[in-house]
Symmetry: C2
């Protein structure tokens, strides 16, 4: 088991997700809150310019700028492409005996409660997730279907760590209750990391419920690209609940239901996430499974 | 009683409030939905460029551009100042025997349910509001504390009409259930207007509960302007409920409650509205009163 030498906490990778921004600012003022004895902790604003203007991004979505080829490309000139290259420098000098762990704090307009998205399926990372799940039985755990080496998201810079998603909360808004829950979860991740380094963490033997993304679905759209339906009221706010063949998925402007026509039950997440309208994503489908540790 | 010759329905005065935008687009495709026999109905996107980029505004908040002096000022050059002047042209040629009525559809991240904000306290306008309230007992009615002649909001262009506010819904998101409720409310306003023109509307004698804005309060902020607290969890989503002296109002990042120190009970609205962070407004205070018709 490698020691974790450093934990890097990101907030504000999207400049209109205020929970992470104000948590990072709080940690800046009170670093003792994130200090632990066996590793260094850094808290960083991911996209300071987007935070300053209160928008998701300036030129392009920073959390899609971490493909290895893009990080190595000196010709990219968008603010976010350059910022991604700066951020990747932090993780570039690795000692093979020591690891970094990333905590990247996001919020969502979807009703995803507290969710962690694992940076990788590395056994140590899943052990950390399993330990967190014991402490937070309602915590949802997403794991990558494949390894993250060719991923464009920030968390892919490290094999250890998590994107934290908290919702529902509107863009540009702090919900105090979710803020407090997120702060507590981050603190617990640090505690579990400390126990991991100290070797005092006991392996979790309980089966772990995980969700794996298996694709995304767009809204019905007309030839101009305008959406022609909204998330069906019976599906709205039902993230992580089963969607069965024949269940209503969308409601058109004229009041007609559009049904889910897949062949098997899926578990939608990111239902009606504001930032995904422009990405052509109405929701992501996941498979739910139970894995032995 | 003057005839209402025309109803103008606005959506997308703010380009990230999707409910009104998709309603106006629906009315464009299906004008029979808003056609009535005694008046003309027009549906318009208030701020087309802001709608196209999915932001509240391009240069400045269109719904603060309707001061009479600004509408008459040829030197203003922002996109929204010019758009406000274009919009005001629609209402400039008035026949003294006929009136226009404005319906301006907005959404809010605050938990304001269905709210109408009266364009004026003109007795005919309050009668329309009272009739709507009979049909929608949960509808909340805001009335201006003073007449709107020096107001900067779009609805002030006419003495008859309402801003419709619907929430909570995140910016950049359609909530199908709220979409349907808003459509139904707009249709009912048209029906009530038709009855008003036909003289078949019976005066409402029941007392009417109204809310009048008496001011706004900002978040606690530090010297840089950063907010130092969020809406207290006990106040979040409690729009229109009484806030009594000593009740918690904010929760600082360090977990301390900030209490309401006013001397009298107020009824906050627009609690935690995303667009008001930049305006220095954490919530608006209203007085609740019951008026006889």
């Amino acid at each position: 088991m490698n020691q974790i030498k450093r934990v890097v906490i990101f907030g504000g990778v999207h400049g209109n997700e205020l929970t992470g921004i104000y948590l990072v600012k709080k940690f800046d003022r009170a670093p003792h809150l994130i200090a632990r004895s066996t590793f260094e902790t850094i808290a960083l604003l991911g996209n300071p310019q987007a935070c300053a203007i209160g928008r998701r991004y300036v030129d392009t979505d920073l959390n899609r700028c971490f493909l290895r080829q893009d990080l190595a490309n000196p010709n990219l000139s968008s603010y976010e492409a350059n910022r991604a290259q700066e951020i990747s420098q932090i993780f570039s000098q690795k000692n093979s005996q020591q690891s970094d762990l990333i905590i990247d704090i996001h919020s969502t307009t979807s009703n995803m409660g507290l969710t962690i998205i694992a940076a990788s399926n590395h056994p140590d990372n899943l052990q950390l997730a399993a330990r967190l799940n014991l402490l937070y039985p309602n915590l949802k755990i997403l794991t990558p279907a494949t390894e993250n080496r060719d991923s464009s998201v920030l968390r892919s810079l490290s094999k250890l760590g998590f994107t934290v998603e908290v919702g529902p909360v509107a863009q540009g808004v702090v919900d105090a209750s979710l803020f407090c829950q997120t702060e507590e979860l981050v603190s617990t991740i640090l505690d579990v990391t400390e126990a991991y380094n100290l070797g005092t963490i006991l392996p979790v033997k309980n089966p772990l419920t995980i969700y794996q993304s298996i694709g995304a679905i767009d809204y019905p759209r007309n030839e101009k690209g305008d959406i022609e339906a909204a998330i069906h009221p019976q599906l709205q706010f039902r993230d992580y609940e089963p969607l069965n063949p024949g269940d209503p998925m969308f409601l058109t402007w004229d009041g007609e239901s559009v049904l889910y026509e897949g062949k098997s039950t899926v578990y939608p997440i990111f239902i009606n996430e504001a930032a995904y309208y422009e990405k052509g994503i109405a929701m992501c489908f996941t498979q739910k499974s139970i894995v032995s540790q």
